[in-house]
């Protein structure tokens, strides 16, 4: 991991939360190089103890928050509430779920009852 170009960018954050290093690293590189998001930055959420990414989605040019997590983690609605509580103006985030074989799936999680676009 330390010979990878993204390593220096991510080092300060993953040092603080070493258990998230793997999933953050995978998601950061996927979003930056594969999904080609722009203006990508890494933020720490000290209250919930998580790292999130913030960037601009290329197709829509809209700014979104991405929360990397592992498939093996255990979440709860309280946990989601605290995440939204710390990200004050945000009403939706993308949950990036990373599995052992480095596959990533992205799901949009919105606060409240939000109709699917159709």
């Amino acid at each position: 991991m330390d010979s990878h170009p993204s390593h220096s960018t991510l080092l300060p954050h993953i040092t603080k939360y070493p258990h998230l290093a793997g999933c953050v690293f995978q998601v950061y590189n996927d979003i930056l190089h594969a999904q080609r998001w722009e203006d990508l930055e890494t933020l720490a959420l000290p209250t919930c103890g998580r790292i999130v990414l913030k960037g601009t989605r290329p197709e829509t040019k809209t700014v979104h928050i991405i929360m990397p997590c592992n498939l093996t983690e255990s979440l709860s609605l309280n946990w989601l509430s605290s995440v939204f509580g710390e990200l004050v103006e945000t009403s939706e985030i993308y949950l990036a779920i990373v599995s052992d074989d480095s596959s990533i799936v992205y799901y949009r999680v919105s606060k409240g009852i939000v109709k699917p676009p159709s």
Binding site: E73, N78, I97, R108, V109, K111, I113, K115
Partner: protein
Amino acid sequence: MCFSDAAELRSKHRICGTLSGTLPHLTQQNFFLGLPLLLMPEEVVLLVENEVAVLVDDTTSVGEPSSAELAEWDEVRKQQVSKEIALWHERDSARAALEITTGKGKGRLSEEAVQKRKERQERKAREVPRELTLDGESVPKEIALDAQAETHSQPNYTVHIPSTSLSHAWYRPSIYEDLHSASHAGLWTYPRTPEEVASCRVFRDLWEKGHFLGSGLKFGGDFLVYPGDPLRYHSHFVASVLTFPTSPIRPMEVVAHGRLGTATKKAHLLCSWDGGKQEVTYFSIEWAGFG
């Protein structure tokens, strides 16, 4: 319950239930369904709490009919039968009269043919019916006297079996107007566990927001959430109830719920009841569309 009750529950109270009655002559189908209307336990709880419905203990509501009540019931039944037979005779003679005046119709017998048939029937009635024994002999068949008398044409009549006991004089319903008394009597004890309580609270909250709700079984959730009557709209959400806001969810469940919802043009709703704050928390899950 008569059909107007089911219609009122739907139109006035946004409670749809599931029709579970099929057709007597076409039982193996589930396209045309009628009464009885099956309600989800959450629907029952809401209706009783809102004082729209009461609970009836059917097993203790049907008493023993007195001989007077039985006699009256039998009398009414006999009258219905004779009325039906009288109507049949009326129609039969009207039809026969029509045949005679108009002559041959499609499959109708002429006056001669009718007369011949009458003679044939009378001859048969006088004959002693015979049957074959094991030895191959033809011997007179033993028939009970009543059956012999009935070989003359006797119109059939319909036996009506009421689908509810409401019409019987010996039906005295045991009614419970609230959940507490019904639970005390051991008749209705839902909700009892924290899971059941959470389910009822989420159901009520979604209902109070103006939605129509149905069973989520077909889409892997607890409820289907419709913006309007299910006969007119598709559901927008599949809702899953988590017992507590601290109940664990695995990211795999998010994937499974989210993917299914998106494939069916619905979003998945994760709901939990917070007993402390007395409120429901909602999160909507959808596939991001990339990745």
